[in-house]
Symmetry: C2
Subunit: 285 residues, 2 copies
C-alpha cells in the first residue's frame, strides 16, 4: 500500500506511542490513528495492541517486511534518477569497514590523477550498509568487504539490481592472543580453530564463518564496533580470535588459503561519465 502508512506504522511500533510518532512525523495524533486504522482495515487484522502500544503477531511480521520494502522503493527512485541525471563531477564512495585495502586505495589514487576534475568523497559506513547506501542513492559507488572462498562472490543484501565486481582479494590471517601456542606457525587451518573462542564483531561475523566452515566457533566477547585497533587489542588480551585481511595485521600467521578477504565494488546504473570511469578503474574486470 501507501509507503507513508508503512513508515507511520514503523514509527509507532518503534516509539510505542501514537502521539510520539505523530510528533516525529509532523502529523497530529488523530492522523496517525487514522493511518494505522487504514492499514489494519486493509489487512483485515490488528497490527498493534493498544495500552500499551506494541505490535501483534501480524504486526511483527509486517515490520519484518517494512524495511526491505521501503528500501526497494527508495532504490527504484534513486536508480532511475541516476540514469536520468547529468554526469556529475562529485561522487561519494561508501566504504564498509576493512573494505578499502591497499590495492583499491592505489587504484583510486591513480584514477584521481587521471580524472582531475572529479571530486571524490569516501564515506565510511557500518558493515553491510554500503550496498544499502548505494541502492538508496546516497552514494554512487560502494565497497563491500567480506570473507569468501577464493573468487566466489560475496553474499550481498538484496536491494535491487546492483552490479557487483570483485575489486580485491587478499589472504586472511588469524589474529591470536600474545603467546598463543599456535602463534609461531606459518599456516593455520580453520579446522584447527573450530573449538576456540571467537570474537563476535561485524568485521568477522561468526555466522559467516559457520556457513563457510561448519559449526563450532564458540562465541567470545561481543564487540559491536569496527575499530581495528580495538579489535586487535581485544584479541591480544585473549577475548577471542578473529580473522583479518593480511594487510591489516602484519606479522600474524596466515590462514591456509581456503578462504580469502574479498572486496567488491557495487553500483547501480552508471551512465557514461566520470563515475563509470572511476568504477572501471577501481574494479578492472
Amino acid at each position: 500500500m501507501d509507503p507513508n502508512l508503512v513508515r507511520t506504522f514503523m514509527t509507532v511500533a518503534r516509539l510505542g506511542s501514537f502521539s510520539a510518532a505523530a510528533a516525529e512525523l509532523g502529523y497530529t495524533q488523530s492522523a496517525v490513528s487514522q493511518q494505522i486504522a487504514t492499514l489494519e482495515a486493509d489487512l483485515g487484522t490488528p497490527l498493534l495492541s493498544r495500552r500499551p502500544v506494541a505490535p501483534t503477531g501480524a504486526g511483527e511480521r509486517r515490520l519484518q517486511h517494512a524495511g526491505p520494502l521501503l528500501l526497494r522503493i527508495r532504490a527504484a527512485r534513486a536508480d532511475v534518477r541516476r540514469v536520468a541525471a547529468a554526469p556529475a563531477h562529485r561522487l561519494t564512495l561508501a566504504a564498509g569497514p576493512l573494505a578499502l585495502g591497499p590495492a583499491v586505495a592505489a587504484r583510486l589514487a591513480r584514477a584521481r590523477v587521471r580524472l582531475p576534475r572529479l571530486t571524490v568523497t569516501v564515506r565510511a559506513c557500518a558493515a553491510g550498509e554500503a550496498a544499502r547506501l548505494v541502492a538508496g542513492g546516497e552514494a554512487e559507488l560502494g565497497l563491500v568487504a567480506g570473507i569468501a572462498a577464493p573468487s566466489d562472490p560475496l553474499r550481498l543484501p538484496d536491494v535491487g539490481p546492483l552490479t557487483a565486481t570483485g575489486a580485491e582479494e587478499e589472504p586472511l590471517v588469524v589474529a591470536l592472543p600474545d603467546g598463543h601456542p599456535l602463534a609461531g606457525r606459518a599456516g593455520l587451518r580453520l579446522a584447527d580453530l573450530v573449538d576456540a573462542r571467537w570474537l563476535r564483531t561485524p568485521l568477522c561475523p561468526l555466522e559467516r564463518l559457520r556457513d563457510l566452515a561448519g559449526d563450532g566457533f564458540r562465541a567470545g566477547l561481543h564487540y559491536t564496533g569496527d575499530d581495528l585497533r580495538t579489535v586487535t587489542s581485544l584479541v591480544a588480551a585473549g577475548h577471542g580470535l578473529t580473522l583479518l585481511p593480511a594487510s591489516a595485521a602484519p606479522g600474524v600467521p596466515l590462514l591456509a588459503p581456503r578462504l580469502v578477504h574479498r572486496v567488491e565494488l557495487v553500483h547501480g546504473a552508471l551512465p557514461p561519465g566520470p563515475a563509470a570511469d572511476l568504477a572501471a578503474a577501481l574494479a578492472p574486470s
Copy 2:
C-alpha cells in the same frame, strides 16, 4: 510511490498505448495520462517517449524495478494475512517442473493419511514460479527443484522472508542420444561434456551449468516447455544433452556426484496447524 501508478506504467509500457492500458485497467485515457505525468514529475524525468509510446532509458530502468517491487508488496500483504488467518483445512502446494520426486511424493502420501481432514491441491507451475506463488499468497507451500552441489542450498529468487528447507536430493544423470559413444559408461563427468551441445530448457538451465562447472556447454536446440517426454525425445534425436534427476530417466549413465538434483520446500509464515504439520512432514529437517 503509489503502486497503482507503477502498475499503470507497466501496462502502458507493455501495450505501447495509453488508451489500450486505460481500457485494460478500467480507467479513461485521461486518467492514465495524468498518472504517467505524476510519475514523471515525481522522478523529474520522462519515462515514456510518445508517438510511438515506448520506454525511455530511465523508463526501462524503472520497469526492471517494477516487477520485484510489486511482488514484494503483494508478499508483505500475503504474509501478514497468513499469520492472522485461521488454520485452514485446504492448502495449495505449488510444484515446479521436476520438483515432485518419489521421496517427496511418498512423504506427501503418508502425511495425507495422518491428516485426513486436510485437502491438498498440487498446482503445477513454471520453473522459478513456485517461490513467487508462495510469496504472493497463491500457494501455502512450494517445491522448487534445481541443480546444486550436494547439500548446498538452491539460489531462490529474492521475494521476501521465505523459509526454504531441503526436501530431497538425488543423483543427476546425463541424458544422451541413442548410440552415443559415452552411453555405455557407468559414471560420467561434466568435464567430459563441456564441449558437447546442450539443450536449452528451463529444466536444466545452461547458465546454471556454467555457473557451477565453468564455461563451455554450447547451446543446442531451445525448448521453452517443461514436458519431460518432449525433452527425452529431443535428446534421443540428438538435439543436445541435458541433465535429469535419476528417477526421471532410468537406465542412463550417472553423473559423477559433484552435482545433485535438489528439491527445496519453501513457505512463508506458518501458524501452527495442518499447513505447518504438512511442511514438517515434507521436509524433515
